[in-house]
Amino acid sequence: MSTEQQRQRVSALVDGEVGRFEAAAAINDLMRSRELADCWERWHLIGRALRGEPNNRAARATAARVRAAIAAQPSGERTDGRRPKGLWRPLGSAIAALLLVLGLAVMLTRPWDPAGGGLPYLGPMPLARAQPAAERWQQSDPAVRARLDRLLVNHQEQVAGLGSPGVATYAAVIGYQRLP
């Protein structure tokens, strides 16, 4: 269970307003609380939509959940041609979450529709115009990106300090950003 203080700290982290000493505490809170981690994802999604940044990567976490739910089912239960009842709950939740995410993104981005006025277009890029080549690792599949991130961080954790200057080893992990 996360405290209100922890939630506020993570919220400040999402907004980039957390002090440097609080940043580490907020990250540690995220590590220990699944509830806060979910908040992190939701708040980011909303923030990106409000700022008009591409949000199609929101499918990443949901896709991973769907995949995990399917993988969690014993293979024998899928051989009779009927879906076991137990599968519908996580799958349904995942689909509902995806629809909620997409609906939220559409709803939040609508006020900046360029067709709505004569002001310069400052709103979100249409999803179809997102540049897959600019994704992390140049991979369109979020599961591949997540997997490579994990393998890289695991590698860096073992070799950090091996003649390389500390923070530099992680700069690529955090520094890489997809331009709008």
Binding site: A23, N28, E41, G47, E157
Partner: protein
């Protein structure tokens, strides 16, 4: 009398020379004229002994990002937190338990440190300059100001295309690297990391090279699934078996030439595996199915190195 008088200046001159020779190392130290090897060793120790926080910029190709960095030492262990100041908020924390990385579009990524793992020992490995000199040319390149501070510039240039070179801008006061360029074989920068402002607490005084501190010997036995000739200079530093989220085992080999490093992961096939090549900044990855396994090579090495190592993996059915 006259002899004594005439010998006086000679004696004074000889004494001065002797004194100068005796104090030469100290004079060098006072002037900051250390050898590049001493400066690099001092850099390594500074990262273990000096706390700092500041803002750095990360430049790769056309991409530019700013990061807030805090480096702390607690109970002899170093830790960092990094927070992106540009674009979507990304954050990373390295602490006694491992690494937590939060990216905006995914659940936090956790890598727990397995205490006692051989890999964690690599942090204490001193630089082996005799070995490095076979694959890198090491030299000083003068001085430069970074973040308003004076630095000594050290070049570590790769002698072949299997690794990148480095250019370190080392703070004269603390020994910390304030700017690090990753260089291609033609010395053009591939990636640059530079502090724009930094607050440093403490400094590393002695420039003298320390005695070797029991560096872990390379793993002599090569696993049967890694065949052929490794890129020159790279040796296996550790071999680990990790547990995957679904319980499957991942075999990890860490290879290094003393500066550059990469890991080879061998595991049962899975969704989300890399097939082909990929890059993240200066990090290269190559992956594919070999026999009944998925193999992925990841590290800060040129793509050709990752590709070559992937080609060395041979498993049953491969």
């Amino acid at each position: 009398m006259s002899n004594r008088l005439s010998r006086g200046p000679q004696a004074l001159g000889f004494g001065s020379l002797s004194l100068a020779l005796a104090l030469w190392p100290c004079m060098l130290a006072a002037q900051g004229d250390h050898s590049p090897q001493q400066l690099l060793e001092r850099m390594n120790r500074a990262l273990e002994q000096v706390e700092f926080n500041g803002t750095l910029v990360y430049l790769h190709g056309q991409e530019l990002a700013a990061l807030r960095v805090t480096h702390r030492i607690q109970d002899g262990n170093t830790g960092e937190s990094m927070l992106s100041l540009t674009g979507p908020v990304r954050a990373l924390s390295r602490h006694a338990d491992g690494v937590t990385c939060t990216l905006p579009d995914a659940a936090p990524l956790l890598v727990h440190k397995a205490h006692g793992r051989r890999g964690s020992m690599l942090r204490k490995v001193p630089l082996d300059f005799a070995r490095l000199s076979r694959h890198y040319s090491i030299g000083r390149l003068g001085r430069f100001r970074v973040a308003g501070r004076h630095t000594d510039v050290v070049n570590v240039l790769a002698k072949d295309g299997f690794r990148y070179g480095y250019r370190f801008y080392l703070d004269q006061s603390s020994g910390l690297p304030l700017k690090v360029d990753l260089l291609a074989e033609d010395e053009s920068p591939i990636q640059q990391i530079m502090f724009t402002e930094i607050a440093i607490e403490g400094q590393v005084e002695s420039p003298i090279l320390p005695a070797a501190r029991g560096a872990p010997a390379p793993v002599e036995a090569r696993p049967p699934w890694l065949t052929g000739r490794l890129p020159p200079g790279f040796r296996i530093l550790s071999e680990e078996v990790l547990a995957r989220e679904d319980g499957a085992h991942i075999h990890q080999l860490v290879l290094s030439d003393g500066l550059a490093s990469f890991s080879v992961y061998l595991e049962p096939p899975l969704d989300g595996a890399l097939h082909g090549e990929s890059r993240l900044g200066a990090v290269s990855a190559a992956g594919g199915r070999v026999g009944e396994h998925q193999v992925t090579v990841v590290g800060e090495v040129p793509p050709a190195t990752a590709r070559r190592v992937l080609g060395l993996v041979d498993t049953p059915g491969g």
